[in-house]
């Protein structure tokens, strides 16, 4: 029975409708996964050297043992935030004569089969070779790898349990972070050193034969706790715990004065606020606003016009760059409705235009504190803002008519690529690459400011000629309307 269940699990992954259709995106995701894999492998091999540099005179293996508890704890928090919960979509199996305990075990153990959860081994195995082997020998290195696998099991089993127990992610994460900070504070004020404890504990485990096997017990314990939890919450209704908070009717009276366009914009605002995926993207967008803090103070980047413009376009257009790729597309689920109501095409397109414009303006305003990094930044931001509002905005609207895949907004996870096609990446070219190329070209003759002026003028022209440009988009939308309708009607 387990074999069949896990077989279905595999098939579900392979046969999901987006899998083949989305080949290019999958390749992209695969390539970035390979990149991280390579980085981890490299880091693993180089880690002994790095640790030597940080703590000279100490054996890297000892230092690593010292940070293992912290590492474990940090990974637990990440997992708690990112690991998707296994939904109990077992109704079909529940009605078949299959033992409950089999289904429960399957649900609990499923994460252990996901190769993604073992990615950390790409770091620890090379380290076992370069760092542990010289100090503890082959047996020690093998024991070290074993301990790491057991810890991964522990984490993969504990994180979902925590997630189920503490529904409120924000509260749970804050709590975990506070515990982490508390431990770090104890360390810092030399009251109690987790570092030393971790050093002694894992040093002992790696060193001595047989005792290391005991590290499997936390994992086992987590498994048993999971079982207890599932026993109490076997039925989906108690399990999925429908949020009972009453939906409240909201009105954006401010928007009402803008007529149908205002209505459309407030509809999109509600759409963002009431779907998991858009909400988590909104938080990501807020994080991206801080992107400039990495680049602007750094002399390596802040002398290079190419980088500066890239970052400026990115952060002054954060809202648009992130939500722009979903524009029109995110109306997929109710597209037929919008197309049959008394909303003419021109109004619909202008609603989307003003929404993007509002995102653009607000991102620009929010990023004005960056002006403290110097007058240069002001010019870059102004040029980037004008370019976003006068050029990129049309590229998004035009590009949106090609994306006929319906966006599923209810399923939200950190790395959700559903409904994202290669066209989304194609759009990036005029958006970011062209202006950056222009600036690079002019900066060869140390005339980056001329490039900035050109970019700003392009943007201004785009804003001034918005009426004819929007009519072009109207016509394009009408050309693509039926393809959009048909595409959106197919849910994945």
């Amino acid at each position: 029975m387990y074999k069949i269940l896990f077989q279905h699990y595999l098939l579900k992954g392979i046969r999901s409708p987006g899998y083949y259709k989305n080949l290019i995106v999958n390749i992209f995701v695969g390539l970035s996964a390979l990149y991280f894999l390579a980085v981890f492998l490299f880091l693993g091999f180089m880690l002994p050297k790095l640790l030597e540099e940080i703590t000279p005179g100490t054996d890297p293996a000892v230092t690593f043992h010292g940070i293992m508890i912290y590492g474990w704890f940090a990974l637990l928090i990440i997992r708690y935030l990112m690991q998707p919960l296994n939904r109990l979509n077992l109704e079909y199996y529940q009605t078949l004569p299959v033992k409950r305990s089999v289904l429960m075990n399957y649900l609990i153990l499923k994460p252990l089969l996901n190769p993604v959860n073992y990615i950390l081994l790409c770091l620890t195995i090379p380290f076992a070779i370069t760092g542990i082997f010289p100090a503890y020998g082959t047996a020690g290195a093998l024991r070290f790898i074993g301990i790491n696998i057991f810890l991964i099991w522990f984490n993969s089993l504990l994180a979902p349990l925590l997630k189920r127990k503490f529904h409120n992610l924000l509260l749970g994460a804050t709590l975990l972070l506070l515990i982490g900070c508390g431990l770090a504070a104890l360390e810092y004020f030399k009251i109690f050193s987790i570092f030393a404890l971790s050093q002694r504990l894992f040093g002992l485990l790696t060193e001595t034969p047989f005792i290391w096997i005991a590290t499997v017990t936390p994992g086992l314990l987590a498994f048993l706790l999971n079982k207890v939890y599932f026993k109490q919450n076997y039925y989906p209704e108690s399990f999925e715990r429908k949020r009972n908070n009453r939906a409240t009717t909201q009105r954006f009276t401010f928007m009402e004065r803008f007529g149908k366009i205002g209505e459309l914009i407030s509809l999109e605002i509600k759409l963002v606020l009431r779907h998991k995926r858009t909400k988590s993207t909104l938080y990501t967008a807020l994080l991206f606003l801080f992107y400039g803090l990495i680049f602007y103070p750094n002399p390596v980047y802040n002398q290079q016009p190419g980088w500066l413009l890239f970052v400026a376009i990115f952060i002054t257009g954060t809202g648009m760059l992130i939500f722009g790729q979903w524009i029109i597309n995110w109306d997929g689920a109710h597209f037929d409705f919008l197309m049959t109501r008394d909303i003419d095409t021109h109004t619909y397109i202008r609603g989307n235009y003003y929404l993007l414009m509002a995102l653009c303006v607000s991102s620009f305003i929010v990023t004005t504190p960056y002006f403290f990094f110097g007058t240069k930044i002001i010019f870059y931001h102004l040029a980037a803002f004008l370019y976003n509002a006068g050029v990129n905005i049309y590229v998004y609207l035009f590009g949106a008519t090609f994306n006929t895949k319906r966006l599923e907004l209810t399923k939200g996870s950190a790395m959700n690529m559903q409904g994202v096609g290669y066209k989304n990446f194609l759009v990036m070219i005029p958006l970011l690459v062209l202006p950056v190329m222009l600036v690079l070209l002019f900066s060869l003759f140390s005339a980056a400011h001329i490039a900035l002026i050109i970019i700003a003028v392009l943007g201004l022209v785009g804003i001034l000629f918005r009426a004819p440009l929007l009519r072009v988009i109207d016509r394009q939308f009408l050309r693509r309307k039926y393809a959009l309708c048909t595409g959106f009607r197919k849910s994945e």
Partner: protein, 257 residues
Amino acid sequence: MQDYAQQPDTLSAVPPSLPPRAEATNTITASNLTKKYGGVTVLNIPSLTIRNGESFGLVGNNGAGKTTFFRLILDLIEASTGEIQVDGEQVARRDAWKSKVGSFLDEGFLIDFLTPEEYFAFTARVYQKSEGDLAAFLQSMGDFFNGEILGSGKLIRDLSKGNQKKTGIAAALIGDPQILILDEPFTALDPSSQIRLKRMLNELKTTRNMTMLISSHDLNHVTEVCDRIVVLEKGLVVRDIHTSINTLKELESYFAV
């Protein structure tokens, strides 16, 4: 405004066999209408006219082309050949018809992340109805809603299928449409709601002379509501009946296997 300016061109392209424009009583006309998917014709209607105030029932087995016909009228798909006109104006890629037509086909016509109140308010404002109009409208729907829609504190996506359908049908009526298009409005409704809906449709017909296009798998309901019933089979009109006492029998014998 643009649409009116372009009208003469489109009319000159119309084949001469069509009735002249003066016949304003023809609310919906389809001419030479076909829809093909990958070489297979799923709908083929050489000529069909639905008159003002007519209640038009569409029946047929799955895949007969009912929904396809409705989607063509609502300009959600593109006809392979031919065209549809509402009040003498082409619908394809135009907007003028939208203010006259109310419709509910499927969940794609709901905005599932809104509460029913927000959804009605949005629709009302799109049709430029005042708050008072909306309140009066919702009050008139009180019977049909049976107290399950308004003030439920639920988003539309959390409503039951039947209540979602009621919500959608009500929203189709907010704009005071001259033409109402409903795809299988009776399925998923509980018996009382089915009866209420029938009563409501008959009332709209007599008091407002509303043109109605209703598809249904339930022959009883459709014969009770509609004056004219068209049977589609594999995309072709095979029967066009003026409803009488014998209609139900006729339909039943037609569909009997």
